[in-house]
Subunit: 136 residues, 6 copies
Amino acid sequence: MMKTAVYRKSHFNAAHRLHNPAWDSEKNQKIFGKCNNPNFHGHNYDLIVKVIGEIDPETGYVMDMKVLKDIVDEYVIERFDHKNLNLEVPEFANLNPTAENIAFVIWNILRSKINAALELTIILYETERNYVEFPA
Amino acid sequence: MMKTAVYRKSHFNAAHRLHNPAWDSEKNQKIFGKCNNPNFHGHNYDLIVKVIGEIDPETGYVMDMKVLKDIVDEYVIERFDHKNLNLEVPEFANLNPTAENIAFVIWNILRSKINAALELTIILYETERNYVEFPA
Amino acid sequence: MMKTAVYRKSHFNAAHRLHNPAWDSEKNQKIFGKCNNPNFHGHNYDLIVKVIGEIDPETGYVMDMKVLKDIVDEYVIERFDHKNLNLEVPEFANLNPTAENIAFVIWNILRSKINAALELTIILYETERNYVEFPA
Amino acid sequence: MMKTAVYRKSHFNAAHRLHNPAWDSEKNQKIFGKCNNPNFHGHNYDLIVKVIGEIDPETGYVMDMKVLKDIVDEYVIERFDHKNLNLEVPEFANLNPTAENIAFVIWNILRSKINAALELTIILYETERNYVEFPA
Amino acid sequence: MMKTAVYRKSHFNAAHRLHNPAWDSEKNQKIFGKCNNPNFHGHNYDLIVKVIGEIDPETGYVMDMKVLKDIVDEYVIERFDHKNLNLEVPEFANLNPTAENIAFVIWNILRSKINAALELTIILYETERNYVEFPA
Amino acid sequence: MMKTAVYRKSHFNAAHRLHNPAWDSEKNQKIFGKCNNPNFHGHNYDLIVKVIGEIDPETGYVMDMKVLKDIVDEYVIERFDHKNLNLEVPEFANLNPTAENIAFVIWNILRSKINAALELTIILYETERNYVEFPA
């Protein structure tokens, strides 16, 4: 039986900086440019959670989007929205909060909260022009 | 030879309600919430039809988008636009018009109208924040 | 002192039909076309509430957008979202729910809930291609 | 002679927090909520600069958009992009960086750089759902 | 009685170049840059027609949007879409097709086709980042 | 190890016409319609470059988006923007510039400029409603 994907879009606003503590300031500045600003900058992140599975014949749903929204709100939005990712989200204490790594962290958070029979993909827009997808 | 996908976006506005006649009112209300409103609600649906194939060297097209548009208009938009999906589109007489099921129905309608050598996928936006893809 | 406008965007999904009970079916069909469908159709309405006033020097706000959001949610979204405008929103019992009239009704609802020193304008998108503004 | 408006859209990403130093923590938290986070959060700001004047018959322009872009880039984007507005943009040393105040500051910066015969308006999106306009 | 604005969005794709025949090539190149390319370039223009008037109590319309659409299609889209504005639209035989002048030309075309009791404004997007409004 | 995709969106404005020199005018007109206009028409093309690979643990990047942007700007945007694709971009001297073929040409240009260990996909919007992806 062919499967169906459902997508749910959410938002959060956060501050971050890109920095590798193993490098000196010069190299951090060279690689990360203005994204290395020690005073932080920020983004309106658009988060799309994609879930793939079979349509339940009783509900017509792959997964109830209200349930998916509640999971995303509780485990991601509540913890990331209006936060400083570097200072306030423990997963980034030792991990550079690039869009790639944020998507990876969100995937790990949500993977354990969603039925393992359903495939999960995270799409994260850092800006309208830069976005990432995990896994690809 | 690597293949190319072409995408064509269309729109239709329709009313619907979500309801499983095998359940009592209480369970319908519990599962579908305000989407179960017996007086219907509605959406501006965005429909994206994706067709995959090889580029025809004579035209430079995978498929003529005007032809694709005409097929989508005749077999989907004419039948779905400004309609009540539950009451006026026979495919939903016994099928709950969730976004998943609408995408599945549209795929079935179009599959027989488009050259079988071309792969077909339906992407359907119920709102800007909720959308589905079949097959995934 | 020059004034500042603040805009807050909300959404609701609703069913409606256009109909003038003073006309016969033929004239209703002629004027309103497929929007006259007796089984209803629907839209994802985007509602933008614009409030104009002076910036409060203590807060830096014209009006707290969270307060504005709560007012819009309580008095408009709760009453219009996932509803049949013709059957379930009393303001349209004797008023045709065109985009123009919906904007006018929303303006009347909100005008009494927002400080009279602030100017109020309603912008309502029925589709991405058709929208209205009251007052203009 | 009737006038024409030209609009130019730009972007910047910045961190900020909302805070009134004349208030204690409790009141700041009550009024500004999670926007008061001392570790900052951030946004992708969309900035639209509107200039009104007569069309120059030689160029067909109200104002050369490339010149306008260069002015906005030099005096606003270079100073605001990837910055912490509270800590790094002197205009906000004693001014709360609400969207209203940011628009007002940008208007003041640009007013002296653009021909006084042209009217100037600033439209600033803090998020897709919250935006402001000065003057209104 | 306060008035209401209705907006109708349309699209056309066209080629153009910016050029002032009273100037030599060097000055045209200096002022118009790559927009002066003698081989033309092109845009997807988004055209928004705004009409202001009182709501007709019989229809609930300021103006029937289907009628407005038909007028815009017949007098603007049919004449501009998939055309070379410089070579094929007579209004630009001696007028530089900047966004400002295109908006002005469209306003002149439509002004005589729409009830004089209704105010008319043209908003024209040349790109997502550059747009104009006439009259302002 | 699961891979991550990064996407970078760019823009260019260009003129083109669709034409097969092996056909007579009548057949070109029949197949390509108004896109066959000998005076050209044009589009605002949105170009999304997708690169798939593993996240570099030192940078947190699949590929530095600034580097990707510079490659796209140098080899595609500089050569395509504000150009007549048929007359000024040599790849289309003998290749019809349909969206499919433009995407294929861009893929070939970029494939040799990007690390071969990274997968590359091109998504090209000719209009908001018509877009293509290569390879699919």
